[in-house]
């Protein structure tokens, strides 16, 4: 099952959510941000190589880290050399070998956001409670609907003590999972590790557990 983690605005925590969700689902996270890769990279072929025809999707899968992942190249020249239309085929091929393919989508509303949505079975929207983030997330929700990716959950990220989950759920027409602003989560992400390994008892880890359970529920519908 292909799950697009998307949100429109940059810096709302899409990569953090994608990485931790993939960890919970024991899935493969794909860094789909072709021009501004965010997830930890290593050596070997990456998504740029796959989209430029230099490697197969299977060759770019890293299984040595805490989360199985397909990293993305870091260079703009590499991002320019790719054929973005291959992203759809790449994700579908990964889907054949992995139960869960979680795509960390870039910010914006261009084809690199649309292509994962076009092949995704479901989408998880990430937003903070700022007006700008909500507006962008609503635009992406519209695109997801047009491209046939059902909205599974809205992640209201970095919330304080009293999150406005009901209002957001009403606005998006989908259930909301709130992820609190958390030092444990930020530290884990900085070190390239999922929070359920570094701080399994934290509120953030519990939130991702809830999110994963909700995604499971979406997939069985």
């Amino acid at each position: 099952m292909i799950l697009a983690v998307t949100g429109g605005k940059g810096g709302v925590g899409k990569s953090t959510v994608a990485y931790n969700l993939a960890a919970q689902l024991d899935g493969c996270v794909v860094d789909g941000d072709l021009a501004m890769a965010d997830l930890p990279a290593g050596h070997g072929p990456d998504l740029h190589d796959v989209l430029a025809g230099r490697a197969t999707p299977a060759e770019a899968v890293r299984e040595d880290g805490p989360v199985t992942m397909v990293p993305c190249g870091r260079t703009l020249a590499g991002a320019r050399a790719v054929d973005p239309t291959k992203l759809a085929d790449t994700l579908e091929r990964l889907d054949r070998t992995h139960r869960w393919v979680v795509v960390d989508s870039p910010a914006g509303l261009r084809a690199d956001v649309g292509l994962p949505l076009a092949v995704a079975d479901a989408a998880v929207l990430v937003t903070t409670d700022s007006t700008a983030a909500l507006a962008d997330a609503l635009r992406v929700r519209e695109l997801a609907r047009e491209l046939g990716a059902g909205l599974c959950r809205v992640v209201l990220n970095r919330v304080g003590a009293d999150p406005a989950t009901a209002t957001v759920a009403d606005r998006f027409g989908a259930p909301v999972v709130a992820v609190p602003d958390s030092d444990a989560l930020a530290t884990a992400q900085r070190h390239g590790r999922p929070v359920d390994r570094t701080a399994p008892d934290s509120v953030a880890a519990a939130a991702f557990e809830n999110l994963a359970a909700a995604v499971y529920a979406c997939s069985s519908v």
Binding site: L34, R80, L87, G114
Partner: protein
């Protein structure tokens, strides 16, 4: 045969009309007219009515299968809300466009996400830049004015690396970059490369001693003249063009090996 039914519900002063068109066998032009006493509020995206909607209802070509159409109106739901005014089978027409999720269409509609060329630092020749061979920058008229020597050199540059790039861009070209050139071509290309080197040296010579040395290395003035008139550039471009055409033809013809072996 098309079956048509419609229903209406009223919420908060707005009537929502749902129309079902079932079992269209071919692409069909349908006209659905609003019968309620009020304006049609059509479905919109980006603030614009969706394709096919007008003030009186919907008219457009629908693909085979079943469809639902819906609109809103401030009028009260009294009597039949809508009617099927016209049905014409038009097998050859294109159905009203929905947003396509084919990768090429998504890129076309949403825009290529690649960073702009200006954002990429120009660090010498970029062998994997997709625009390097598409644009064909060396065939512009003003480049004709350059010396044939530097053009011949350019033609050699155009050859191998650009073609390899082309292979990378093909959908089924995985592993092509490791393919070797046919052995018959090797010596000829090497000779072309040697002559291009010689031409470049000759073109770059600016002082008398440099020129003398370059002419001597090229094998004398007669050889230089032969080199200048050899038409290497034209021939190399001819080969490149023909090779590209053949590659396109091969790309277009998929050999169904499995099917053929089953038949055999």
């Amino acid at each position: 045969m098309v079956t048509f039914d419609c229903s209406a519900s009223h919420h908060d002063g707005v009537t929502l009309v749902t129309v079902h068109l079932r079992a269209l066998e071919t692409a069909t032009r349908v006209t659905v007219r609003n019968c309620l006493d009020g304006p049609v509020w059509p479905p919109r995206s980006e603030g614009m009515p969706e394709a096919g909607w007008s003030a009186t209802g919907f008219s457009g070509v629908l693909a085979p299968g079943s469809h639902a159409l819906g609109y809103a109106t401030p009028a009260r739901p009294e009597g039949t809300p809508a009617e099927l005014a016209d049905v014409v089978a038009v097998p050859d027409a294109d159905p009203v466009a929905e947003r396509s999720d084919r990768p090429a269409d998504v890129v076309r509609e949403l825009g290529d996400p690649s960073p702009p060329a200006d954002a990429v630092p120009a660090a010498g020749p970029e062998p994997s830049s997709p625009t390097a061979n598409d644009a064909g920058p060396r065939t512009t008229p003003d480049s004709e004015a350059q010396s044939s020597a530097s053009l011949a050199a350019a033609a050699v540059d155009d050859g191998a690396p650009a073609d390899r790039d082309g292979a990378h861009r093909e959908a089924d070209a995985e592993g092509d970059h490791t393919a070797q050139l046919p052995p018959e071509l090797g010596p000829w290309l090497a000779e072309m490369e040697r002559r291009a080197d010689a031409a470049e040296t000759l073109a770059a010579a600016e002082t008398l001693p440099e020129a003398t040395r370059a002419v001597r290395e090229a094998g004398g003035l007669a050889e230089v003249r032969t080199l200048a008139d050899a038409g290497d550039e034209r021939r190399l471009r001819l080969v490149a063009r023909r090779a590209r055409r053949l590659a396109d033809r091969r790309a277009g013809a998929t050999i169904p090996v499995e099917t053929l072996s089953t038949l055999a």
